[in-house]
C-alpha cells in the first residue's frame, strides 16, 4: 500500500513506503532463520507481492461467478455434479463450488490482509510521529526543488522570516524554525485518509467474519393464516454461525394474515409483478403485545436483533380429503412449488395418511388462471393471479411409508409403484369448489380454495453495523487521500549584497506542483516588498507543468 500519488517530478521524495523486494536487503543466501524471516516478511509486505495477491483475489473470484455455488444455489451444484460426473468431483475437490469459503481463497485474502497490515501499521506509526514532530528542515539548495522562487528585499532577514511564519501559519501550515529558515508542512489529512481507508478494509474483513460467526440465517415458509415462533422446529433451513447456539434465538413470533400481489393486467407486460405486500402481526416476546407490520420487498421487519425479509411467494391450494368411510382424512392448505415464475404454474402433493381403509395421496398441478392451450390441448396458466384457479389431480392409494421412520419431503410422494399404486381413472381436473369422487369408493377430494404462501428469510448478522461503519470510513478515507496532498514549503532569508536580504522559497508537493505555491510567493512579496534589479519574478523557476 503505497501512497497512490507520487512525485511525478521524480524528486527524492518518491513515496514508496513499501520496500522494493530486490533492494529490500541482502540476498537470503547464508542467512540465519531470523534473517530468512525478515526476508520473507519484507517480501510479503512488498508492493509487488501485494499487487500479485490483489490479482489473485480477483482471479480467484471468477470461478465463483461461473460455477454454481453451494452458498447461493445448492440445488444447481447438485445438478452440475449430476451432469459432469468426471469433472464435477475434481472441481469439488478444489472447493470450486464453495469458492468464497475455500481454504485457498482464504489463504490469498489472509496473506493480502497480513501484507496490508504489515505495511499500514508501521506507516501509521510513522505518520503519527511525523504529525507530532517538526516539519523537516530546509534542504541546502531550495532552487533545485520542483517549485522555487527567489527575490531580494530591503527588509531584514528576521523580519522576512517572521512574515513567512505569519503567512504560513495563517494558511494553516505547521511551521518550524531552522537556521535562517522556516520550514512548513500541511496536508496530513491525505495520508490519514489513505491509512484510514486501508485500516477500514481490515475492520470490514473482521466485521464480515464476526457477522458470520455470531449470526444465523434461516428460511421459513408461511401460509396465510399460519404462524411461526423463532425456534428451530419452524425453520425449513437453518444455518447458524459457528459461535451461535440455537438457544440464543430471540423469542419473537409472527403470523401471516394476508398476502397480496399486484400485477400488470394489460399490455405487453401483462403479468409482470408490481407490488408484493404481506400483512403480518408479530410479538417481540411471548408476553409482548402484538403489532402489525406491512412486510414488503425492500421493507424488511426488524425484530429481536434479526431482520425478516420476504423472499418469494406461491400458492397453497386448500383441500378436504374424505376417506372411503366418509371421514375427513385431511383438511388444509398445502404449499405448492411454482415450476415457472411467470404465471405460477405450481405443483405439489397432498398426503392423507389418516385415510381408511387405505392411505391416499395426490399428485397435483395448480394453475392460478387456467386456460386451454388450443395447440397442444393442454391446460396452461395465463396469469399469475388466481383468476381461475384449477388443479389437476392424480390419485394414489396404498401405504405412504410415513411410519417407516425415514423422513420424507412434503413435496414428494415416495414409493409409487411399490407400496403406492395409482388409482384407475384417478386423474381429474378440478376447479375451485368442485369435488372428485375417487373411483372404487376410496373417498373424495374437494378443492376448497386458494391461499398464498410466502417464504421468509430470517437473518441475524451482528457484523452488519460495524461493516457499514468500516465501509463509510473507507469511502471518507479514500476521498480524503485523493483530495488532500501533503505540501512542504521552505523559506530562507540570508544577507545579500548592499544590506539587502535574499529570500528563497522552495516547495515540494506529493504529486504535481500546485498553484498554492505561487499564491504563497505572491503573498510573501506583498508582505516583504522586493527591491533592486536582481529581482526575479515570482515563480520564474517554477517547474509547474500545468
Amino acid at each position: 500500500m503505497t501512497k497512490t500519488q507520487r512525485a511525478d517530478t521524480g524528486t527524492t521524495e518518491a513515496t514508496e513506503a513499501r520496500p522494493a523486494p530486490q533492494a529490500g536487503g541482502p540476498k537470503p543466501r547464508g542467512m540465519g532463520p531470523l534473517g530468512w524471516l525478515r526476508w520473507g516478511w519484507r517480501q510479503l509486505t512488498s508492493m509487488r507481492t501485494a499487487l500479485i495477491l490483489l490479482f489473485l483475489v480477483a482471479l480467484g473470484s471468477v470461478p465463483g461467478s461461473i460455477l454454481p455455488q453451494r452458498g447461493q444455489a445448492p440445488e444447481r451444484v447438485a445438478e452440475y455434479l449430476e451432469q459432469h460426473r468426471t469433472l464435477g468431483p475434481w472441481l469439488d475437490r478444489l472447493s470450486l463450488f464453495d469458492v468464497f469459503a475455500a481454504p485457498w481463497f482464504a489463504a490469498i485474502y489472509i496473506l493480502l490482509f497480513v501484507s496490508l497490515a504489515g505495511c499500514v501499521i508501521p506507516r501509521s506509526r510513522q505518520h503519527w510521529r511525523a504529525m507530532r514532530g517538526q516539519p523537516p528542515a530546509a534542504p541546502r539548495n531550495l532552487a533545485r526543488l520542483p517549485q522555487s522562487a527567489s527575490f531580494e528585499t530591503d527588509r531584514e532577514a528576521g523580519e522576512v522570516l517572521a512574515a513567512a511564519r505569519r503567512l504560513l501559519r495563517g494558511r494553516r501550515f505547521r511551521v518550524a524554525d531552522g537556521t535562517a529558515s522556516v520550514a512548513a508542512e500541511k496536508g496530513y489529512l491525505g495520508e490519514i485518509g489513505n491509512l484510514v481507508f486501508h485500516l477500514a478494509l481490515l475492520v470490514l474483513l473482521f466485521a464480515v467474519a464476526a457477522g458470520s460467526l455470531f449470526g444465523y440465517r434461516g428460511n421459513i415458509v408461511l401460509t396465510e393464516g399460519g404462524a411461526f415462533a423463532n425456534s428451530l422446529t419452524y425453520y425449513d433451513q437453518f444455518t447458524p454461525g459457528r459461535q451461535f447456539s440455537p438457544d440464543q434465538l430471540a423469542p419473537f413470533s409472527m403470523r401471516l394474515a394476508d398476502f397480496r400481489a399486484e400485477y400488470v393486467t394489460e399490455g405487453e407486460r401483462r403479468g409482470q409483478p408490481l407490488d408484493f405486500s404481506a400483512k403480518v402481526y408479530y410479538r417481540e416476546g411471548a408476553d409482548s403485545p402484538e403489532k402489525p407490520y406491512d412486510l414488503r420487498v425492500n421493507h424488511p421487519l426488524e425484530v429481536g436483533g434479526a431482520k425478516i425479509y420476504i423472499l418469494g411467494h406461491g400458492y397453497a391450494p386448500e383441500f378436504t380429503v374424505r376417506d372411503g368411510q366418509g371421514n375427513v382424512a385431511y383438511r388444509g392448505a398445502m404449499p405448492f412449488l411454482p415450476i415457472e415464475q411467470r404465471n405460477f404454474t405450481s405443483e405439489g402433493v397432498i398426503k392423507a395418511p389418516d385415510a381408511r381403509p387405505e392411505q391416499l395421496a395426490f399428485q397435483a398441478v395448480f394453475w392460478p388462471t387456467a386456460v386451454a392451450d388450443t395447440r397442444n390441448a393442454q391446460v396452461v396458466s395465463a396469469f399469475p393471479a388466481p383468476l381461475n384457479p384449477t388443479v389437476s389431480l392424480m390419485t394414489f392409494k396404498g401405504d405412504l411409508g410415513l411410519d417407516s421412520g425415514i423422513p420424507q419431503s412434503v413435496y414428494r410422494i415416495e414409493g409409487i409403484g411399490k407400496t403406492l399404486q395409482p388409482v384407475r381413472d384417478g386423474s381429474k381436473l378440478l376447479r375451485q369448489g368442485e369435488t372428485f369422487q375417487i373411483p372404487g369408493g376410496a373417498g373424495s377430494i374437494t378443492f376448497e380454495g386458494t391461499k398464498e404462501w410466502i417464504s421468509l428469510a430470517v437473518n441475524h448478522d451482528p457484523g452488519r453495523v460495524p461493516a457499514l461503519a468500516a465501509a463509510v470510513a473507507a469511502i471518507a478515507g479514500i476521498v480524503a487521500s485523493f483530495m488532500v496532498r501533503r505540501r512542504r514549503v521552505w523559506v530562507r532569508a540570508t544577507p545579500g549584497e548592499g544590506g539587502r536580504t535574499v529570500v528563497e522559497v522552495g516547495g515540494l508537493t506529493l504529486g504535481n506542483p500546485t498553484a498554492e505555491f505561487d499564491d504563497l510567493v505572491t503573498a510573501l512579496r506583498r508582505d516583504v516588498p522586493p527591491t533592486g534589479p536582481g529581482d526575479a519574478p515570482a515563480g520564474a523557476d517554477d517547474k509547474t507543468e500545468e
Binding site: 461467478s65 440465517r217 465501509a471
Partner: protein
C-alpha cells in the same frame, strides 16, 4: 401529455442524439485530420522560411514530426491558434454539435423517466443510455477542465456504439419496475454505478491513447498519423489517472450502496451474486492499477494495461453477467 407521447418523444430524442453524436464524431475526426495537415503545412512553411535548403534535401518530414511531438502540449490549446485563417474550425463545430447532442440525450432520459414515472434506469436499455450520457458528460467536464478535445472523437465512437447497442438489441418499451427495484436506493446505487462507469469509460479511452502514444514515442518519431496531434504520453497517462481517481471512490460508493440495498431487499449485504463478484473483481483490479501506478517497475504501460483489464471486467460485469449468468441482478436483462 400522455405517457405514450412522452415515450415516443424519448425515442425520437434518442435518434436525434445518435445523429448529433455521429456528426460530432465526424467533426472531431476532421479536426484531428485537418489539424494534422495544417500543422504539417505550417511546419513546412516555417522550415522553408528558416532553411530552404533543408527542404530540398527532404528532411522536412522528420522535422515536422519532431515538432509534432512537441505539439503534444500545444494541441490542447489549439482553440486560439493563429494559423487557421480561412479554414473551417471543425473542432469548435464538433463541440457545438456535441453539446447539442448532450442536450438531446438529457432530454431523452428525462422524458423517458417522466413517461415511466420513475428513475429512468430500470432496465438495460435505460441503464446503457444513462452510462453513455455519463461518459459524454465526463468527457465534456474533462474538455472544459483539461482542454482534452482530442478525446472527443473516441468518446463519440464509444457513445454511438453504446446507444446503438441499446436501441437495436436492448430496447424495452416504457414500463413499470419489478418490486425488487422499487426503492429509493435505485437513485443512489444505480446513479453512482452509472457515473463511475461513464467516467471509467473516458479514463479507459485516455489509457488506450496513452498506450498507443507511448509505443509511438518509444519507437521514435516515425509517422504516427493522428497520434502526432495528441498530447504526449505523460499528459495522457496523468489524465487517465486523474479520471480514474475520480471514478474509483464513486465505484466504491456504488458497491457499498448496493450492499446496503441488498441488505434491505435480499436479507444480506453481500452474497457473492455474479454481479457482486464482478463488481468486486473490477474494484480489485482498479485498486491494483492505482497501486501499480505508484510502484517502481509497474508504472507506465504495465499499469495502463491493468487499467484496461479492469475496464474489460467492468464491461463484462455489464454485459456478460446479465446475459450469461443467472443471478439476482438478472431482471435487468
Amino acid at each position: 401529455m400522455a405517457d405514450g407521447d412522452l415515450a415516443n418523444l424519448s425515442d425520437q430524442l434518442m435518434l436525434g442524439t445518435v445523429l448529433l453524436y455521429v456528426v460530432a464524431m465526424v467533426g472531431y475526426a476532421l479536426d484531428l485530420g485537418f489539424g494534422l495537415r495544417r500543422r504539417q503545412t505550417e511546419q513546412t512553411e516555417q522550415a522553408e522560411q528558416a532553411a530552404p535548403a533543408k527542404v530540398l534535401v527532404g528532411s522536412a518530414g522528420a522535422e515536422a514530426v519532431d515538432a509534432g511531438t512537441d505539439a503534444g502540449d500545444a494541441a490542447d490549446a489549439d482553440a486560439d491558434e493563429g494559423g487557421r485563417r480561412r479554414e473551417t474550425d471543425w473542432g469548435r463545430f464538433a463541440v457545438l454539435i456535441n453539446v447539442l447532442g448532450w442536450g438531446a440525450h438529457l432530454g431523452m432520459l428525462v422524458t423517458r423517466g417522466w413517461a415511466a414515472e420513475r428513475w429512468p434506469w430500470g432496465n438495460m436499455y435505460e441503464f446503457l443510455s444513462a452510462i453513455a450520457f455519463a461518459a459524454v458528460t465526463a468527457y465534456l467536464v474533462v474538455l472544459v477542465r483539461h482542454k482534452a478535445r482530442f478525446l472527443g472523437a473516441f468518446v463519440m465512437v464509444a457513445a454511438v456504439i453504446a446507444l446503438g447497442i441499446a436501441t437495436i438489441w436492448l430496447y424495452t418499451p416504457v414500463g413499470p419496475l419489478v418490486p425488487a427495484l422499487k426503492s429509493y436506493w435505485i437513485a443512489i446505487h444505480v446513479s453512482a454505478a452509472i457515473v463511475a462507469t461513464g467516467a471509467f469509460t473516458v479514463g479507459g479511452t485516455a489509457t488506450l491513447l496513452y498506450l498507443l502514444q507511448s509505443r509511438r514515442q518509444e519507437r521514435g518519431t516515425e509517422g504516427g498519423g493522428a497520434l502526432a496531434l495528441l498530447p504526449g504520453a505523460d499528459t495522457l497517462d496523468r489524465l487517465a489517472y486523474k479520471i480514474t481517481m475520480f471514478a474509483f471512490p464513486i465505484w466504491t460508493f456504488a458497491i457499498i450502496a448496493g450492499a446496503i440495498w441488498a441488505d434491505e431487499a435480499w436479507g444480506r449485504y453481500w452474497g457473492w451474486d455474479p454481479k457482486e463478484v464482478w463488481s468486486f473483481v473490477t474494484w480489485v483490479i482498479y485498486a491494483g492499477y492505482l497501486h501499480a501506478r505508484a510502484t517502481a517497475g509497474w508504472r507506465g504501460r504495465k499499469a495502463a494495461i491493468i487499467s484496461l483489464v479492469a475496464f474489460a471486467a467492468l464491461l463484462f460485469n455489464f454485459f456478460g453477467v446479465n446475459y450469461m449468468f443467472s443471478g439476482l441482478h438478472s431482471y435487468a436483462g
